[in-house]
């Protein structure tokens, strides 16, 4: 089998920005295979979820599934992406913020906005889930979550918002 797996993390991160989709797909796959060792590539992988090439997106998603909580220094960047226009990147940014738990407290206003008005329902749902994971530090999101419950347009969103409110307490 191929022995091209020895590329360093910085080199793979750079390759993820290549203009060649085959090279980007290979980089995403190798980062996925690196498992939790690729945590330094979290942000580029979230951005790669918006790639035009489906292979890049799928490997980026697979990599992010395994990565665990994000480094604290990228919380602000993830918050920006969660509020951004690319649905799959926003979904994964919200997921990672949720994994960060109370360390993502600074993201609460952006996540509350996502719950209230993100165009993509999966992003709204994941934002509600993330607020629940942040817990009591997400107290300022109560109104957005209560509205999501009251609207009841989406059963899953209403359930996740209800669970988040229970986790936030107050």
């Amino acid at each position: 089998m191929s022995g091209s797996e020895s590329s360093s993390l910085p080199a793979l991160i750079a390759q993820l920005a290549s203009t060649n989709p085959d090279e980007r797909a290979e980089a995403a796959e190798l980062l996925c295979r690196a498992g939790t060792a690729a945590v330094a590539a979290t942000l580029p992988l979230v951005e790669a979820c918006g790639d035009d090439d489906s292979r890049v997106r799928e490997w980026a998603v697979a990599a992010l599934e395994e990565l665990g909580p994000p480094p604290a220094e990228i919380i602000d960047h993830l918050t920006e992406i969660a509020a951004g226009p690319e649905p799959l990147s926003a979904y994964w940014a919200a997921t990672l913020l949720g994994r960060a738990g109370r360390d993502a407290a600074a993201a609460v206003p952006a996540l509350a906005t996502c719950v209230a008005s993100a165009e993509d329902m999966a992003v709204r749902e994941r934002a509600a889930w993330a607020l629940g994971k942040i817990g009591p530090a997400a107290l300022s999101a109560r109104e957005a979550l209560q509205q999501a419950v009251a609207q009841g347009k989406d059963a899953r969103l209403a359930r996740l918002a209800t669970e988040a409110l229970a986790a936030i307490g107050g």
Binding site: R33, G98, A122, A155
Partner: protein, 339 residues
């Protein structure tokens, strides 16, 4: 919508089965007496040179499977799509894995093309095997979708074509609701066949406790779905080991095949399993395991990770319904190997 492609013609019933490798004639005779009516076959086991790239380990003709056990496996083939199917050495390992088993429940088919699984099954059958498949719809809440598929040996297993479907998902509790299909062993007489539901699942790693409980509800529902079927096997990548089995652990009769073994390729986590009701699925022979990709196929960790970040898990079941034959015990040794 879940579907079964055009089915191959059913293989002829086989009047007898070969002695498993290493089994003596007296042993074979005793097994034959115990299973007098069973004719679980291995019609497709003619010696043929495997096509395609050279194998990683000696393959040759497919070795005979145990004739007194049905081997059911689950395998998360991480991001099984265009990139992976284009790697001959990876496909070679994957085909060898599947040929060990009678049915393999696969998770994480992630491809734009509908041709990945047909291409894969063609590679499996390149040695004369006669596998076929059932595939579910693309599932997922984002543009990143996954499909479930069952790949099964038509020499030994049949599918109830009317049984294929995606489990209802009220309240959207499961990110990727399971694919269910009812199978039966090909034995003579057919009314003695072991019939069973397989329920293929890949849970969302970020919502494991909720999804495990939802899956337990699915399991309970499936047990009573048909009055003529009491065997339900939930199998897949649960992203959880038995300590995290939630509502399943409150079911006094729920049992699982993998308890004290890791199932990921890094050998650090127990994610994959087969769950069933111990009192109704008495066909379970108490034999199960994890097929370690590295050690079985002589791969480095990185080579194994090119195949998947999960190892296949499997369990052995008796090919007859338990009520037909008391005192079940497999007589054949089960040794999984490169094929």
């Amino acid at each position: 919508m879940a579907k079964q492609p055009d089915s191959p013609p059913l293989a002829a019933m086989v009047p007898s089965a070969p002695a498993p490798p290493g089994q003596s004639m007296p042993g074979r005779w005793l097994a034959g007496v115990a299973l007098l009516l069973i004719a679980l076959g291995s019609v497709g086991a003619q010696a043929q040179a495997p096509a395609g790239p050279p194998p990683l380990a000696p393959a040759g003709a497919p070795a005979a499977k145990p004739w007194d056990a049905v081997l059911i496996a689950s395998f998360n083939i991480q991001v099984f799509g265009e990139s992976k199917i284009a790697k001959p050495q990876v496909v070679n390992v994957l085909t060898q894995v599947v040929r060990n088993f009678d049915v393999v429940a696969i998770q994480e088919v992630r491809a734009k093309s509908d041709g990945i699984i047909p291409q894969f099954v063609k590679a499996i059958n390149a040695d004369g095997s006669r596998y076929h498949y059932v595939i579910g719809p693309r599932l997922g809440r984002t543009v990143s979708k996954e499909q479930y598929t069952f790949i099964y040996d038509t020499n030994r297993i049949e599918v109830d074509a009317t049984s294929i479907g995606t489990v209802p998902n009220p309240g959207d509790r499961l990110h990727r609701p399971p694919l269910h299909t009812r199978f039966r062993t090909r034995i003579n007489p057919p009314q003695m066949a072991f019939t069973f539901w397989l329920v293929d699942i890949h849970t969302d790693p970020d919502e494991v406790p909720q999804e495990i409980d939802a899956l337990a509800d699915v399991f309970s529902s499936m047990l009573t779905l048909r009055p003529d079927e009491d065997d339900v096997i939930v199998l897949g990548d649960l992203n959880a080991g038995p300590p995290q089995f939630g509502r399943f652990k409150k079911m006094p009769n729920a049992g699982w095949a993998i308890s004290n073994a890791t199932t990921n390729t890094h050998r650090t986590k127990t994610y994959d399993n087969l769950i069933f009701d111990k009192t109704t699925t008495r066909e379970y022979l108490g034999r199960s395991g994890v097929l370690d990709l590295q050690s079985t196929y002589g791969l480095t960790l990185d080579q194994a990770l090119q195949v998947s970040d999960h190892n296949p898990v499997w369990a052995a079941f008796y090919p007859c319904e338990a009520q037909n034959l008391p005192g079940l015990q497999a007589t054949t040794g089960i040794a999984l190997a490169p094929r």
